[in-house]
C-alpha cells in the first residue's frame, strides 16, 4: 500500500477532468428542471453525444468538430423527448427513461465499428501567467479548453437565470406554468428551448468522456454519469454554482477511489467502485431530509393550455 504516492496536485487536476462531464450534464439539466421539466434521458443523451463526438473526431481528426456534433446530437435527441412530453403530453418519467434506452441502443449500434480506436484529443491549454504559479498553476490552469468552457457555461447559466429577463421568464414558467401562460408567455416554446439546451450540454458532457477523459469508445461508457448528474441537480438545490461544487465533490470521490485502487488499499475493488453511488445516495438523503429546498414548483407537472 502506497498512500503517499498519491500526488495532491495531480489528484485535484484529475478531479476537474473527471467532474467535467457530470458538470456539463448537470448544468444543462438544471436549466431544464428550472423550466419545470424533468428529463431522465440525460444518460441516453450523454452516450449518444459520446459516440457521435467520437465518430466525428476520428473521421475529421478534429476534436472541436467532435464536440460540436456531439452537442447537436444531444439536442436532436432531446427534441424527441420535448415533442413527446410537451406536445403529446406523455409522462415525463417514462419518456425520459425511454430516451435513455433508445440512446443506449443507438450508441451501441453506431459505435460498434469504432471500438478499440483512439481518438484525437484536445491539447491542454495553459492559461498564460496563471499556469506559471507553482502548485496552483498545474492544478487549476493547465487543462484542456473544455474544462474552462464548462465553468464558463455554469457562469453564463447563473447570470442568465438570475440577472436577465429571459431567465426570469424561464423561472416563472417552472414555478407556475399557469400563471406564466396567463401572462402571455409561450410555456411550451420556452420549455422546448430549455430541453434542447439541456440536450446539447449532455451531448457535450458525453463527448468529454469519449474524447478527453478516456479517449476511446466502449459500449455503455458513460456508466451512470447521467444519473449522477441528475442527482447533483437535486444536491445543488437547482442553483447553478452549487452544481459546480457537487460535480467537483463527486469527481473527487471518483478520482480518490481510483487512486486508492491503484495504491493497492486493502479494500476490494468492487466496494471502491460502488462508493460514488453509495455516497451520492447518502448525500441525496441528507439534502432531502432538510425539507423544502427549492425545487421548481411545476417540476414534472403536465401543462395543458385549456383555452
Amino acid at each position: 500500500m502506497d498512500l503517499l504516492g498519491i500526488n495532491p496536485v495531480l489528484l485535484i487536476a484529475s478531479l476537474m477532468v473527471s467532474a467535467t462531464p457530470i458538470l456539463l450534464a448537470a448544468i444543462g439539466e438544471t436549466v431544464v428542471e428550472k423550466s419545470g421539466v424533468l428529463n431522465l434521458g440525460v444518460e441516453g443523451m450523454m452516450i449518444v453525444g459520446a459516440v457521435v463526438g467520437f465518430i466525428t473526431a476520428v473521421n475529421t481528426a478534429s476534436p472541436v468538430l467532435g464536440f460540436i456534433t456531439a452537442a447537436v446530437a444531444g439536442a436532436l435527441l432531446s427534441v424527441i423527448f420535448a415533442t413527446l412530453v410537451l406536445y403529446l403530453k406523455s409522462n415525463q418519467v417514462a419518456t425520459g427513461l425511454g430516451l435513455t434506452l433508445v440512446g443506449l441502443g443507438i450508441s451501441a449500434l453506431l459505435g460498434k465499428p469504432y471500438e478499440g480506436i483512439k481518438s484525437p484529443t484536445l491539447q491542454s491549454f495553459e492559461i498564460p501567467v496563471l499556469s506559471d504559479i507553482p502548485v496552483i498553476g498545474p492544478m487549476l490552469f493547465s487543462h484542456d479548453p473544455m474544462v474552462y468552457v464548462s465553468v464558463i457555461i455554469v457562469a453564463l447559466v447563473w447570470y442568465t437565470l438570475t440577472h436577465t429577463r429571459i431567465g426570469l421568464i424561464l423561472r416563472a414558467v417552472g414555478e407556475n406554468h399557469d400563471a406564466a401562460h396567463a401572462l402571455g408567455y409561450k410555456v411550451l416554446r420556452i420549455r422546448f428551448m430549455a430541453i434542447m439546451f439541456g440536450g446539447a450540454c449532455s451531448g457535450l458532457g458525453g463527448a468529454y468522456i469519449s474524447l478527453a477523459r478516456v479517449p476511446q469508445w466502449t459500449e455503455g461508457m458513460t456508466a451512470g454519469a447521467g444519473w449522477i448528474a441528475l442527482a447533483i441537480v437535486v444536491f445543488s438545490s437547482w442553483k447553478p454554482w452549487r452544481t459546480l461544487i457537487g460535480a467537483y465533490l463527486f469527481g473527487g470521490i471518483t478520482v480518490l477511489q481510483l487512486n486508492l485502487q491503484a495504491a493497492g488499499v486493502d479494500i476490494p475493488v468492487e466496494y471502491l467502485s460502488m462508493s460514488p453511488f453509495v455516497i451520492t445516495i447518502v448525500v441525496l438523503v441528507i439534502i432531502s431530509a432538510k425539507g423544502n429546498h427549492g425545487a421548481p414548483a411545476s417540476l414534472g407537472r403536465l401543462f395543458h393550455a385549456s383555452n
Binding site: 403530453k89 434506452l101 453509495v278 451520492t280 445516495i281
Partner: protein, 359 residues
C-alpha cells in the same frame, strides 16, 4: 389548427388500440432502421416476429424460450405496474433482480450438497426477501426523508452490480471451479434446480409464479381495498389524503411488492435457465420490464401479453443476429423505440383531437 381536448375519462377503445398502433409504428421505424443497416427490412421483421413461433426448423427450439424469457419480464413488470399506477417510480428493478438471485443462490449453496425438499421453498423465500430488502432502501428513504425514489433505486442498480461482481469472485465462488469466477451450477444440484415443470415447454416455476402474480394482481387491483388505494393515490393524490390513505404505507407496499417480485424473478433465473451466479448474470430484464409494464397499459392481462411480445423480440432478435448478422444493439433500440411510440400514441387515450378554430 389542431387542438387537443382533454377527455373526461380515458377512452377505453383507444386504450386497447394504441399499443397495437405503437407496435406497427415500431415495425415500420424498425424496418427503416434495418434497411439503413443494409439488411432486408421485411425479412428481418418476419424473422423477429414470425419465425420463432412458426418456422419449422426454429420453432421447436424457440417456442419454449418464449416462456423462459417472458416469465421474468412479466413477473417484474407486474410488480412495477402497481407502483407506476400510484405514481411511485421504482426504476431499479434490475438491482432487486440481482439481489434476489444472490440471496436465492446463497440459500441453496449454504446447504450444498445436502438434498431436501425444503431447500427450493427456502430459496424462493430468500429470493423474494433479497429483492424486497433492496427495494426497502428507496422505500424507507422516500417515506422517512422524502428522498427521490427514482434516483435512489436506479443508483442501487450500480451498487448491486458491484456486489454481484464481488460475490461471483469471492463469497459464492465455486470452490471446485479451478479459480474461475462464478458460483456452482445449480442445474447440477437437484434440490435447488428450478427444472421445467412440463418438459420442453419452457414452463419452469418462475413462469408459473408469473401467471399467479398476474391473477393475484388482477384480483387485488379490481376487488381489494389496497388496489383501490393504489389507483386513488395515482389519480387523485389529494382525494387519497382526505380519504385517509397513508402515503407512507402505500409507498413501502408498492416498492416492497415490486422488489419482492423482481427478486423472485432473479432467483428463478439463477436456479433455472442461467444456472449460476456470474459477473454478468443480469441481462437488463429489470429495464425491459419497464417497457413491458407500459406496453401492457399497467394492466395485469395487458402485461401478460406485452411480456410475451417482448420475449418474442428477444428471441427473434437473437435469430436475426444469427440469420442476417443484425447487430444485437438494434434489438435494444427496437425495444426502446416501442416505448417511445407507445407514449406518443398515448395522447389519443386522454385527449380528443379537434381540428378547427377554438370557440
Amino acid at each position: 389548427m389542431i387542438r387537443f381536448e382533454k377527455r373526461l375519462s380515458p377512452s377505453r377503445a383507444t386504450t386497447i388500440i394504441t399499443p397495437i398502433i405503437a407496435v406497427i409504428l415500431t415495425m415500420i421505424a424498425g424496418g427503416i432502421m434495418f434497411a439503413l443497416l443494409g439488411k432486408p427490412p421485411l425479412e428481418a421483421i418476419r424473422i423477429i416476429f414470425w419465425d420463432p413461433l412458426f418456422d419449422p426448423t426454429f420453432a421447436s427450439y424457440s417456442r419454449p424460450q418464449l416462456l423462459v424469457k417472458a416469465g421474468p419480464l412479466i413477473l417484474i413488470a407486474i410488480g412495477l405496474s402497481i407502483g407506476f399506477k400510484a405514481g411511485i417510480w421504482n426504476i431499479g428493478a434490475e438491482g432487486q433482480y440481482i439481489m434476489g438471485a444472490i440471496f436465492g443462490a446463497a440459500a441453496a449453496l449454504a446447504f450444498f450438497p445436502a438434498e431436501s425438499a425444503l431447500i427450493f421453498p427456502l430459496m424462493v423465500i430468500s429470493g423474494a426477501l433479497g429483492g424486497w430488502l433492496w427495494a426497502m432502501i428507496p422505500a424507507i428513504l422516500r417515506a422517512k426523508f422524502k428522498t427521490n425514489e427514482i434516483l435512489v433505486s436506479l443508483m442501487l442498480v450500480y451498487v448491486a452490480e458491484s456486489i454481484l461482481a464481488s460475490v461471483a469472485q469471492g463469497l459464492l465462488k465455486n470452490p471446485d471451479g479451478y479459480g474461475f469466477p462464478g458460483s456452482r451450477n445449480l442445474q447440477q444440484y437437484p434440490s435447488a434446480f428450478n427444472a421445467e415443470v412440463i418438459a420442453n415447454s419452457g414452463m419452469h416455476w418462475g413462469v408459473i409464479s408469473a401467471f399467479m402474480a398476474v391473477i393475484f394482481t388482477y384480483v387485488m387491483m379490481t376487488r381489494h381495498i389496497r388496489g383501490f388505494e393504489v389507483r386513488l393515490l395515482g389519480e387523485a393524490p389529494k382525494a387519497a389524503q382526505f380519504a385517509g390513505v397513508s402515503t407512507t404505507r402505500l409507498t413501502i407496499f408498492c416498492l416492497g411488492f415490486s422488489g419482492a417480485l423482481a427478486g423472485l424473478a432473479g432467483m428463478f433465473e439463477v436456479s433455472g435457465p442461467a444456472g449460476q451466479i456470474t459477473i454478468d448474470f443480469n441481462s437488463g430484464y429489470g429495464f425491459t420490464a419497464i417497457i413491458v409494464a407500459f406496453l401492457g397499459r399497467l394492466h395485469p392481462v395487458g402485461i401478460l401479453m406485452a411480456g410475451l411480445l417482448m420475449a418474442l423480440t428477444y428471441i427473434g432478435g437473437e435469430l436475426a443476429q444469427l440469420m442476417l448478422g443484425l447487430p444485437g444493439a438494434s434489438i435494444q433500440l427496437f425495444q426502446g423505440m416501442l416505448l417511445l411510440f407507445l407514449l406518443a400514441t398515448d395522447v389519443f387515450t386522454n385527449y380528443r383531437i379537434r381540428i378547427g378554430v377554438a370557440h
